[in-house]
Symmetry: C2
Subunit: 192 residues, 2 copies
């Protein structure tokens, strides 16, 4: 975001996660978040429409990267290889800060129905973004829908592994997500 205030967005996210953890999501106001981050309320609203969006920021960026990776996969890639290309591209968005924050974000979501609903819609939106990108490559329905569900599941499982493990390590999210996707592919053979 704007060069006039480097880091404000990240400081707002950190402040919000801390406040949600300390006093709960419902009890936390935009004023408190801005104050803790050392910025004005109007700076908050330059970055986020409300406090709920703050925790799921990045969803549009994730969807964009998923679609981009899928569009640019080799022409002869299988549906799952195509999904993998999207997942790798999107995984690049997640850095050490996301990894460090993840347990606190998870705790805040677990404690608030409102955040659970927002998070669920995020999941559904990511699947929809992948399905559209796969369909645009000519992958037929319902293969595209199924491949997307596997992709979302792999991303969530890989992210959970990545953020629950040893967070001092330098390994990247993409490897965890691809491992999860391969596990799901293998499991699909045992569905019957």
């Amino acid at each position: 975001m704007g060069r006039w205030e480097p880091g404000a967005r990240e400081r707002l996210v950190m402040a919000a996660v801390d406040l949600f953890t300390e006093q709960g999501y419902d009890a936390t106001t935009v004023t408190q978040i801005a104050e803790r981050a050392g910025v004005t309320k109007s700076t908050f609203f330059r970055h986020f429409p409300d406090k709920r969006e703050l925790l799921v920021a990045g969803q549009e960026e994730l969807s964009r990267l998923l679609a981009e990776g899928i569009a640019e996969a080799p022409g002869d890639a299988t549906p799952l290889e195509t999904v993998a290309a999207g997942l790798v591209r999107a995984s690049g968005l997640m850095g050490p800060q996301n990894r460090e924050f993840a347990p606190r974000v998870r705790a805040a979501i677990a404690a608030s129905t409102e955040l659970q609903e927002r998070d669920a819609l995020k999941t559904v939106s990511l699947a929809a973004a992948m399905t559209s990108a796969l369909a645009a490559r000519g992958i037929p329905d319902p293969t595209a829908a199924l491949a997307s569900e596997l992709g979302v599941l792999a991303f969530k499982r890989g992210f959970a592994e990545w953020t629950e493990g040893d967070r001092d390590a330098n390994d990247e999210l993409a490897g965890y997500v691809l491992t999860a996707l391969e596990e799901l592919r293998a499991a699909s053979a045992s569905l019957g």
Copy 2:
């Protein structure tokens, strides 16, 4: 619900769906819903905690039936056959009224982010209920998670087919859901 007022719950749902369609979800109040249904506001609150819950009522019942059907599937059923048993049981909850209302419910959800979020959480909850029930039968992770996602996808796709087609017909939801599950099973062979 209570014998003192037969049909109040159904009348409330019908009134709410009509009002959401006529004037939007946000503009509709509990008072208006109760009035249109010909009941008091306190009757509304005996049936639903708020107007949002009204549209997703039945989620707990669905989860319960899914879990029940899964638990009672034959011991030698494959994971997908087990999921199918849960889906058939849950499909029994949906009658002609659900079929008739579905397009209006869909329109109301499409027009409201709040309802989309609630609906997304419902989807995630159903998958979680199935995964738990499959795990309780000893189906290992991630097969249980994958089978549940296929089950939810089949339920949604089958429900969409059932409610978008010729709604005068007497055919039941279960057949549509099983067809969708079979299509997904077949598609899983082409994932690569």
